[in-house]
């Protein structure tokens, strides 16, 4: 264990009358390690990092950074830390070089040392070729590396990174991780905040936050230890997986279960579940095998387990028989150009009724463009999109009436109450009279909005906002659901609740198109298309894609491994 760099005791921070953003958090951060500050959005990660920089003061408790009190010695702290805020803190009108110069001046890096330091940083971040380019014209991954370079100009003893992995393609994310890993070898302490549990697993030590409270502090293996021997994988399933997942989740002994490609991942409660007979449950080839526990299993266990398998929303939905042969959503050679920039090139796929199809890719890859062309929000430059048989170019209105759309960050009206949001969206979708009242009443009952009807949507916690957004998207019983980054940043329990509904609806014959940059979420899909720089570089079921890159080095690749390998293959093919 390294030297103690940050000591927090009973740190509390409130904003207004809301529940505390941080509630009596105590812990420490060591030098020479990556400490993951882990938790869903709104857990208090950013607040805690800002408190460490001395830019914000705690309402209660104390924080000592490198031996200095943040309350009284903030200037001394700021002289020896590096901080990369969420949006990297770069000046977009300044070039890479000018940004470095600015921060070098602000941090007092002597002129004589600059050429060497800049040269090494630019080599390290692979930005040398772009030194003259304006920061605003860099890709997300390059911005992030430049942000890191600016934070590293004056060898900091402690490096604070606020969600550096958000919205960046997996390759850049992995590069960044390698760089930061190198830094810890020189004794630098790194704080890496993240909502991604796979990132958390790779940290040396983690502080797990949820709703302002510290749930766990220790190493990742210490956390996964608690579910050791309780995690299983059901493989070789015959037929549809989702009804089986539902059956299994209804067992009170099963704490958590999710679809993972062709398989189902299960976490049993401490008392153990029923003695399932795999063959009886899922066909003759089915097997239940123990699996390596992961961070998320432990997080769910710590939060008291996921929801059951039943979705009241799906129960109330009318049945449309899933039909593999009939495509509800079709993209044929969809291409979108903005000037000479091709945002999406020749995207083709078809989604049969009752399937979940995922568009997986980093921000800016072209997912949203494809998505918008398929909802009729953007006119394709070339190609055609069909939705429930309607041509999206000509019958846009008819096609749109058959789909429900849940936008990224939930496009609710924050100033309207829950009831007003429901009424508004019902009106927008053309529901009227008794039917409208029935549907709203049904949603209120299913999602238990009763006591919240008068509350402003803005004041709802993230999980409830998501529920309300889903309710608004399904009010008109759409045949197809378009979900744009539906669960990024929400806690795992809320995410499971959400997918329970979606899984249920899919079994009732609803077709789902989902975009995500979340590798885990891709595993919930029946098929996915990997979108990278405007192209679909691979299409298939999650297991097929993973299997396609399996090799001696990676016998059991993750979705992220698959993505990286496939991107590299496609780049190699292009170069050839």
């Amino acid at each position: 264990m390294g030297e103690e760099f940050v000591r927090m005791s009973q740190v509390t921070k409130r904003f207004g009358s809301a529940p505390p953003a941080l509630d009596a958090v105590s812990g420490s951060i060591q030098g020479g390690e990556i400490t993951g500050l882990v938790g869903p959005d709104g857990a208090g990660k950013t607040t805690l990092i800002r408190l460490m920089t001395g830019l914000m003061l705690p309402d209660g408790g104390t924080i000592e950074v490198l031996g200095f009190n943040t309350r009284t010695q903030a200037a001394r702290i700021q002289a020896s830390i590096g901080y990369m805020p969420q949006r990297f803190g770069l000046y977009e009108d300044l070039s890479v070089r000018e940004n470095l110069d600015l921060y070098a001046d602000l941090r007092g890096l002597p002129l004589s040392e600059r050429p060497a330091v800049f040269d090494e940083l630019l080599t390290f971040t692979d930005l040398k070729r772009f030194a003259g380019r304006l920061a605003g014209k860099l890709s997300g991954g390059m911005k992030q590396k430049l942000g890191l370079a600016c934070a590293l100009l004056r060898k900091p003893r402690l490096l604070l990174l606020d969600e550096p992995g958000v919205g960046v393609d997996p390759i850049s994310r992995r590069d960044l991780w390698t760089m930061v890993r190198d830094l810890t070898r020189e004794g630098i302490g790194v704080v890496w905040s993240t909502a991604y549990l796979d990132e958390a697993e790779a940290c040396d030590r983690i502080l797990l936050l949820n709703q302002g409270k510290l749930l766990f502090s220790g190493t990742p293996p210490q956390l996964t230890e608690r579910v050791e021997g309780r995690v299983f994988k059901l493989t070789g399933i015959e037929g549809r997986r989702r009804p089986i997942l539902r059956k299994v989740l209804d067992d009170p002994g099963v704490l958590d279960g999710v679809i993972q490609g062709e398989a189902i991942r299960l976490v049993l409660g401490a008392a153990g579940g029923r003695d399932w007979n795999a063959a009886e449950l899922a066909g003759p080839a089915a097997r239940i095998k123990p699996a390596e526990p992961r961070f998320e299993d432990a997080f769910v266990d710590m939060l008291g387990g996921g929801p059951g398998g039943r979705s009241k929303l799906a129960d109330a939905a009318a049945l449309r028989v899933p039909d593999e042969s009939h495509a509800v959503i079709e993209a044929k050679g969809l291409t979108k150009r903005f000037g000479d920039f091709v945002a999406a090139r020749d995207i083709t796929f078809a989604i049969p009724r009752g399937q979940i199809f995922g568009l997986l890719g980093p921000n800016g890859a072209g997912k949203s463009t494809t998505f918008k062309m398929l909802c009729g929000l953007l006119k394709p430059t070339e190609g055609e999109g069909r939705m429930a048989g309607f041509d999206l170019r000509r019958d846009t209105a008819a096609a749109r009436n058959r789909l429900g759309y849940m936008a990224q960050k939930f496009s609710l009206y924050g100033d309207l109450s829950v009831a007003q949001n429901l009424a508004f969206f019902a009106g927008v979708y053309g529901l009227s009279g008794p039917h409208r009242r029935e549907r709203i009443a049904l949603m209120t009952e299913i999602f238990e909005f009763g006591p919240l009807l008068g509350m402003s949507a803005r004041d709802l916690p993230l999980g409830l906002k998501q529920r309300l957004a889903l309710a608004c998207a399904v009010l008109h019983e759409p045949e197809a659901l378009f979900l744009d980054e539906p669960t990024s940043g929400v806690d795992p329990i809320t995410r499971r609740e959400f997918w329970t509904h979606i899984n249920g609806l899919v079994e009732k014959g609803v077709t789902v198109l989902v975009t995500t940059h979340f590798m885990d979420e891709a595993e919930y899909c029946d098929r996915i298309s990997l979108i990278y720089r405007g192209r679909s570089i691979a299409l298939g079921s999650p297991d097929e894609l993973k299997a396609s890159v399996a090799g001696p080095g990676t016998p059991d690749p993750t979705m992220e491994d698959a993505f990286i390998a496939l991107v590299k293959n496609s780049e190699a093919a292009e170069a050839a």
């Binding site: 920089t53 200037a75 949006r87 300044l94 007092g108």
Partner: protein, 386 residues
């Protein structure tokens, strides 16, 4: 990997640290101004548009007002008076024989007034009575109505003076002769254009400054800077200097346009102009910094800047409306509007020349308000996020 310089020397930075940080901030800000089209727009394009509007578009003069002239008296003398009206540079005259011909035009606003030379105009004058010219105006537009009336009197007065020898008219006992000093043409452009320079500096000093600081909060760059050893004073000063210079540049452009394009006279000294402008920029910049420190949001900052700086500079500064004719409570409010001290002085610099006692008083008041703004801004710009 060994890419980092030796460990930081700690907070005791080199003595040149502060100067270098300040220079770096100023340099950064200058690059941004040059590369961001919106700064150029606010600092140079918008001022030019404003100047053109005040120079050409808005005029408080009634030049070439359309009127109807009903010549009901057909004598040569009446014709001669009518010719005077037609020759007047203030009127564009439509001639008729009967006032009724123009009644509809007046109602519809096609003419601004009817000048009637009544049938007995000359007889009355010759008979020793006072000849009467009737002026019919649209009372719903009192400004124009009084212009028509005044200018009609002017035309008649000039005409009578010229004709005095030829026709027997009783000489008025007292002749009021008007003479306007400094702006003999009474061209409103000559005082609107200098006044609008104050408005332009408000745009740059307050609106632009509050926007650029709020933008740093929105984009998260403020947070990253604050986590460096830079001090709040350096941050503020680093914003003030570039926008101070930009404000002066914008002012210079306006003055050149005013003098060389609009032909506004410039009778004072460049020194006085610069001293006044520089002093005015202090409260303007201070207010901009205060607004952005308090709002941290570009939308709110722009609204607040418009409401608290731009509109008062327009309405409560004596630029368009005379302060003396405002209700006393509004007059009290104008006391804190820096533009009200600048505008009369600027107008003097252009139209009258240097009146240093007036200028020094204005400069003192503006610097005082500026100092208050800076103290308030500095208090709000502590190195804290919340």
């Amino acid at each position: 990997m060994n890419l980092l310089s030796p460990a930081a020397p700690g907070p005791e930075a080199a003595p040149t640290g502060s100067a270098r940080r300040f220079a770096a901030l100023v340099r950064k800000e200058s690059y941004q101004v040059i590369r961001d089209p919106s700064s150029i727009l606010i600092a140079f394009v918008l001022p030019l548009i404003l100047l053109v509007i005040f120079g050409y578009g808005v005029s408080l003069d009634a030049s070439r007002t359309r009127v109807g002239l009903a010549i009901e008296d057909s004598t040569p003398i009446a014709q001669d008076l009518a010719a005077s009206f037609q020759a007047s540079r203030y009127f564009e005259v439509a001639v008729g024989r009967d006032r009724r011909e123009f009644e509809e035009d007046l109602v519809l606003g096609r003419v601004r007034g009817i000048l009637v030379i009544p049938a007995n105009f000359v007889q009355e004058g010759a008979g020793g009575g006072s000849p009467e010219l009737q002026v019919i105006v649209d009372g719903s537009d009192p400004n124009t109505a009084s212009f028509v009336q005044n200018y009609a009197q002017g035309v008649v007065g000039t005409w009578m003076a010229l004709r005095a020898a030829e026709i027997v008219m009783p000489a008025p006992a007292i002749v009021v002769e008007q003479r306007f000093w400094f702006n003999p043409e009474l061209a409103s452009r000559n005082f609107l254009v200098p006044g609008s320079i104050a408005i332009v500096m408000t745009l740059v000093g307050t609106l632009l400054t509050s926007l650029v600081v709020a933008r740093e909060w929105e984009r998260g760059t403020m947070e990253a800077m604050m986590a460096t050893p830079v001090t709040a004073a350096e941050l503020l000063a680093g914003k003030i200097l570039p926008y101070f210079l930009l404000g002066l540049a914008s002012m210079t452009l306006c003055v050149l346009v005013a003098v060389f394009v609009f032909g506004v006279p410039f009778r004072g000294s460049v020194l006085a102009l610069c001293a006044l402008s520089a002093s005015f920029l202090m409260p303007a910049l201070g207010q901009g910094l205060l607004i952005s420190a308090a709002t941290k949001n570009q939308f709110l900052a722009s609204q607040l800047a418009l409401l608290s700086a731009f509109l008062p500079a327009f309405l409560l500064s004596g630029f368009l409306f005379e302060i003396n004719s405002m209700p006393w409570i509004i007059q009290m409010i104008t006391a804190v509007v820096p533009a009200r001290y600048l505008i009369p002085s600027l107008q003097s610099v252009f139209l009258a020349g240097d009146i240093w006692p007036m200028f020094l008083r204005a400069i003192a008041v503006m610097l005082f308000i500026g100092a208050l703004m800076f103290v308030a801004a500095a208090r709000n710009t502590r190195k804290r996020i919340a």
